[in-house]
């Protein structure tokens, strides 16, 4: 900041303002810390695999040791061993990448696609009915069922699962963005821009998008939670990530036949899924409160 004669008013940007309010919410802050930890963990496993050329992965995450199968949690193996004698903790750690990154990509795809559809529908009245009725058709089919159908048609692979989830979430994003654009485009500051001679593109990118961002961010967090659940669900019914890859839903699916003999191999991956979704929802709630200007105090 320049030291002018009159000290310029030190202003917090709206982002800084939101962060200030988010920080006060200790629960959400804790959830964010856990989420960052999970993300760093997932990145670390990818680096380890790259550096060791998958030898660590082959030796500890995939290779079986039937002598140790179904061992309960112990000092060496904190979460115990699974039905093939593999360390469950390691498998959960290695599985984080699927849930987090596939979920992230799916939501990214859904938000871009849904964002464009919603913005066009909201801004241009002519397109509204056509686009939103198509979105309604998609919404009428339950998200998971739609994803199952898409994967069933295209075959189970990482890319197809991400695409399926992205497509099934697109209508939700389109609706959120359309509602935002509809309320923003009738505000007087849009008219003010128009009276200065601003073009449509300038109005959309300088006025509408920045003002529509907060609900979008919240929707991304919440959407990611449901994407992770969908990935786990698809893998559980065998349409997502295939064994022996340590995906949480797939682990759950394989473990469920042993639930009477070894509770831990079902509960541990289940808990991993639950905790991840829970922290995302807590972060989403915290963001909603922090970004809503009416909550300001």
């Amino acid at each position: 900041m320049k030291k002018a004669q009159n000290m310029p008013y030190q202003s917090r940007t709206l982002g800084a303002e939101a962060w200030y309010r988010f920080k006060k919410n200790k629960l959400a802050l804790g959830a964010l810390a856990i989420f960052i930890f999970l993300a760093l963990m997932a990145i670390t496993t990818i680096i380890i695999d790259l550096v060791t050329n998958n030898s660590f992965y082959d030796k500890y995450v995939i290779s079986q040791d039937l002598l140790q199968r179904l061992q309960p949690p112990s000092k060496e193996h904190v979460l115990g061993m699974d039905e093939f004698g593999r360390d469950i903790l390691l498998r959960i750690i290695w599985g984080t990448r699927y849930s987090l990154f596939m979920g992230a990509f799916a939501v990214l795809g859904a938000s871009v696609l849904g964002g464009i559809i919603g913005a066009v529908a909201g801004y241009y009245n002519m397109m509204d009915t056509i686009l939103m009725r198509i979105m309604d058709v998609f919404l009428a089919i339950p998200t998971t069922l739609l994803a199952v159908a898409i994967v069933a048609a295209t075959g189970p692979s990482l890319v197809n699962v991400v695409l399926a989830i992205a497509i099934s979430q697109t209508p939700t994003f389109a609706r959120v963005i359309r509602a935002q654009v509809l309320t923003i485009k009738d505000q007087e500051f849009i008219e003010a821009a128009r009276s200065a001679g601003a073009s449509d593109a300038r109005i959309i990118f300088r006025y509408i998008v920045p003002n529509a961002l907060s609900p979008m961010i919240v929707q991304v967090t919440m959407g990611m939670a449901s994407a992770i659940l969908s990935i786990a669900g698809l893998s559980f019914i065998g349409m997502g990530i295939q064994a022996p890859m340590p995906e949480w839903g797939a682990m759950l699916s394989n473990a469920r036949s042993y639930i009477r003999d070894a509770w831990h191999i079902t509960v541990m991956p289940g808990a991993a899924i639950m905790i991840t979704i829970l922290i995302l929802n807590i972060i989403g709630d915290g963001l909603r409160d922090a970004l809503d200007p009416r909550m300001k105090n």
Partner: protein
Amino acid sequence: MSASKQTILSVEHLKKYFQTASGQLHAVDDVNFTLAKGETLGVVGESGCGKSTLGRTILRLHEPTDGKVIFDGKDVTACSKQEMKKLREDMQIIFQDPFASINPRMTVSQTIAEPLLIQGRYKPGDKEALNRHVRQVMDRVGLAQRLVNAYPHELDGGRRQRIGIGRALALEPKFIVCDEPVSALDVSIQAQILNLMQDIQEEMGLTYLFITHDLSVVKHLSNQIMVMYLGQVVEICDAKQLFRAPVHPYTKALLSAIPIPDPRVKMNKIPLKDELSSPINPKPGCRFAKRCPYATPECTAGDIPLCEVEPGHSVACIKAAQFKDAMA
């Protein structure tokens, strides 16, 4: 109006209809007036009478249904997109609600710089000159320099309205539509803003179209006053003359409702029966007839044109001459 004054804006048979589910809404119906350079025309009328729509249609923020707007010799309604953009440098608007009319994501300086950038007055790289211009505008509208980086949510209504005025002034326009610029502010701030607007008008030779529902506000500001009722002009005349001798029954009722700040003076309010009738598919004749204490069947028989009762004073009422004589 004397011929020596240069006409900057003339509005001819301007109409703006909106299509609604239940029919055609006549928001502005055949409005005519001329406005001389450096003068102020006050437009008054109750909510929903089409004042704001008139202002916006003149600026072509709404496409007019019919009629012409001649601004500075050019027909605004016939301009192409390019010509319109050029023309917008000279005609600006100040909005009513300073909370809704400023982009909450832009700082004070960004908001004021926006019209300058849109019109390409400064190249995007020329930050220094742009900032200098913005600071000048802030000075002129009485915004402290320390607020350059402030966001609108950090400021009170009066300061926000100063931003709105600054934004309108940045391009140094010739004509500004003031759409109820003080009605969202509290009374002490109203006076400040009105004084500011008057000072700027003198300084820059601006022409104002001042829209308001508050007669005491326009009284001191306007040269001419135009009274609207349901999209039509019912009376247009010199400001002083209007307050001294209103002719149209609606104008009289409106003037009688101005509060007198003295508890001992008894106000002779002329109460109006009923409510504003619907502007959708209006019936022919005087639109005020339903509420008028002097209405006769002739009032609703056919359309009533605006007629001059004395030089520079026009009234749309079949009994105008009668009322005029009664007063004399």
